[in-house]
Symmetry: C2
Subunit: 477 residues, 2 copies
């Protein structure tokens, strides 16, 4: 690779890379790939500089390519290999790890034009889709057939399937249905040299060879570019029953989660909001939430028939047994939708209060109360305001550090508090990222969490699949 | 690698490998690894020659090592790397793809002594186990805590967790709970050079780096040796409701499966037995099955509370709508256990009728009737008796070719019929192995199914992780 090194993604680029290789690529692309839209004006490129990882420096792409077909992507990667140009694969740009942020002078390939749902196969409960399809669009298309596409990131109305695949995106119903990887049956992937391969297919069981499907999902564009995916659908579940439970302390909420686990409940949603988050949501939406509570759980069931109401009754019992002082059921599906939407918009609610730095730690689920206490202690020690919400049923919490927009200490404080929270999560057997990804934002923590030897294995796989190092260099590894 | 090549595993070895490297390894192991049991007598080694893949030539191991600890395994692989000795990792030897069969003159490392369950973590719904634990032992230990370990190969009473991980083993309840890979949260793996790494952990969501966990599972010992696993448990489901439905033709049974899918049912078991298999089971167990039927479905539900009976009622309706002429519910849990056990022993029932050659094809589930027809047509064209049973809900069928024990044409016919069945499965978008593995038995079909470019990616990963090619050479790739 000419002109790129692994530090680029995380540090401001003082000296732009040699522009000659990219210029040569663009010239060849104009001649050989007429279907590819190329953006080279600075104003256009600027809008591809960042994803939604606001606190991360990002480079200005040297150019942006918008392919329309798999052959276009293959052609672009052949040229990138030939000319030694780094490539940043990008979906809708809603990522929270800097995985799709620009690299100064590199080529961003945005998959947004490849936005067709190719087939919904009702008989085999799967959908074949291009990567540029918006998650909500896929959900709606499945729903129109009486089917359900489960993966459900909070950003589902704007994020794309390709980005979901790249990050192995999570969301609100992982606790029952798993993450994006669990929904993938097969992929079409363009490798670094432009070779197109297929992995998996429409078989729900298939052990022929290594599971490349699982490897590509979550690799954030560092091993190949996903140009098509076959995703698992489910029969549409019935309407959800929804419960809110309020607790005077965090441990009681943690006990309620443990009680539901012990009772064998499998809720589709098991979310926790702390006092700060409850207040921010209430301040915006006026739902009548108990703003004196230290924690609120939101529990939903989509069990079939009478099962949903029954499961929520048992969840209510677990909450009361753990000391909940107020439990409320949604009066009807519309109210439930509204509560769920309010939870989804928790981040936006917090952003009304200042500049928010969102994190994404996870722990074994029994350690959620300990992690909540550690987060509160660390934030207090640094005098930083922190609101935490997240997927309690998965052990996945999102601490949000809130600053005044012009706070000059914010950047440094964020970094210090974040590192202490990461350390606390790892000390509890957890992870520095449960669903957002290592991307560019958490790279230095990967060897700390996984160990040098495991990261060396990842590097050897990266080197095997991308020997020139052109695919999203400096991300993940 | 000295003295080994990729053809070894599938062909009788005329010229044994150079014995000097193995002799040097054994000498060093005796001195440096006192905890390792070494078997060198021919009679001992002979019992490690084969797994349960009866129709495959297998080599006589030059020695067998039985390590007691991860450090022992690491020491053995360090020595194997140093001396260039090929290694065959082996569990209980129940595999059906020749993945753990001996390689002439190589070192078989059997993990059977590493048979301790290290911890059942109720609060985090997981178990930490060594690989030598028998699947049924793990199930029983989980059940004693009110929990459930789902993966459920038909051989569960004799197969080991390590082998299940190596092959990504399936079984009877995949249709609801997935394969072995879906139950794995983390691994400890010894790499080819003896380095020990950990992947994953107890977090249900964790996107830090590439998912090495998913890659090692199903790699049949060609990328590393799994020495510990953290596996997902579930709250124990309630007692099962069980239904048998008989059909006068295969298509009607296929329609019943499609009808259940369309109705949104999620049975825990959805098995199909064809006429030959029904007859063999009935002949052995005298259950009163309808031996005039062309197909029987066995449907089970473990939905909570009244849900199980409700789901079975809906399954019954789907079967009747598709034309089932006889539906029978198990009278009580004991009868249901007996029926399930009879299904599990279908292979043994067939083996009472002759020498059985078991295959393992899969198709997208809607193609099950087409695959059944193709299997029957191919068998008839070659005048071969064939009994088919399998996991209809997953699209996974096991055609069994039955020969007289002394039939001199069996080997050649098996090969020809098998290849035609594989081709038929692939023509339907299927796989040559849904749950048994490529191993040594199906290697030549891997590039046909996956394509040369995808197999080249697998080979590059193999070369990156095992540059000397000592780990189970000639298996999978």
């Amino acid at each position: 690779m000419r002109g790129y090194d692994a530090t680029m993604a995380t540090s401001p680029i003082a000296v732009p890379a040699d522009p000659a290789p990219l210029a040569a690529l663009l010239e060849a692309a104009r001649a050989e790939l007429p279907g590819v839209r190329l953006l080279t004006d600075e104003v256009d490129r600027e809008s591809y500089r960042r994803d939604e990882t606001a606190y991360l420096d990002a480079g200005l792409p040297g150019a942006v390519a918008l392919p329309g077909t798999t052959a276009d992507v293959a052609g672009l990667l052949r040229l990138a290999s030939r000319h030694g140009v780094a490539v940043v694969p990008r979906g809708a740009g809603t990522g929270l790890s800097g995985g799709a942020a620009g690299i100064e002078g590199a080529l961003t390939i945005a998959l947004t034009r490849m936005d067709r749902i190719l087939e919904i196969d009702r008989a085999n409960l799967c959908v074949v889709t291009q990567p540029g399809v918006i998650n909500a669009t896929l959900k709606a298309a499945a729903a129109a057939e009486g089917l359900f596409y489960a993966p459900d990131p909070a950003s589902y109305e704007t994020c794309s399937i390709g980005g979901n695949l790249g990050t192995n995106a999570g969301g609100l119903c992982c606790v029952k249905y798993g993450q994006t990887r669990d929904a993938v049956l097969g992929l079409e992937v363009v490798l670094a040299d432009g070779t197109v391969i297929r992995t998996g297919g429409r078989n729900v069981k298939d052990v022929a060879g290594y599971s490349l499907t699982h490897l590509f999902v979550g690799s954030q564009g560092t091993l190949g570019i996903i140009t098509e995916a076959t995703l698992r659908l489910r029969p549409a579940p019935g309407p959800r029953s929804t419960l809110l439970a309020f607790f005077a302390d965090l441990d009681a909420a943690g006990e309620a989660v443990a009680g539901m686990t012990a009772a064998g409940l499998v809720p589709v949603t098991l979310e926790l909001l702390d006092r700060e988050t409850i207040a921010a949501v209430e301040d915006w939406h006026h739902l009548g939430l108990d703003t004196t509570a230290e924690a609120m759980l939101m529990v939903e069931s989509d069990a079939p028939g009478a099962g949903a109401a029954d499961e929520i009754t048992r969840a209510e019992a677990a909450c009361i047994a753990a000391g909940s002082h107020a439990v409320v059921r949604a009066a009807d599906p519309q109210e439930a939708d509204w509560l769920r939407q309010a939870r989804r918009l928790a981040l936006r609610a917090l952003e009304r209060q200042g500049t928010v730095r969102l994190e994404d730690v996870g722990v074994p689920r029994a350690a959620v109360p300990a992690l909540l206490r550690a987060i509160a202690r660390i934030a207090a020690a640094h005098g930083v305001r922190c609101a935490t919400f997240g997927h309690a049923g998965d052990g996945n919490l999102h601490p949000n550090l809130i600053f005044a927009p012009d706070d000059p200490a914010a950047a440094e404080l964020t970094h210090r508090v974040r590192d202490e929270i990461f350390r606390a999560a790892l000390d509890l057997g957890g992870t520095v990222t449960a669903e957002h990804g290592i991307g560019a934002a958490r790279r230095e923590w990967l060897p700390i969490q996984r160990g040098d030897a495991a990261v060396a294995v990842m590097r050897s796989i990266k080197a095997a699949l991308d020997p020139l190092g052109i695919l999203n260099p400096g991300r993940v590894l």
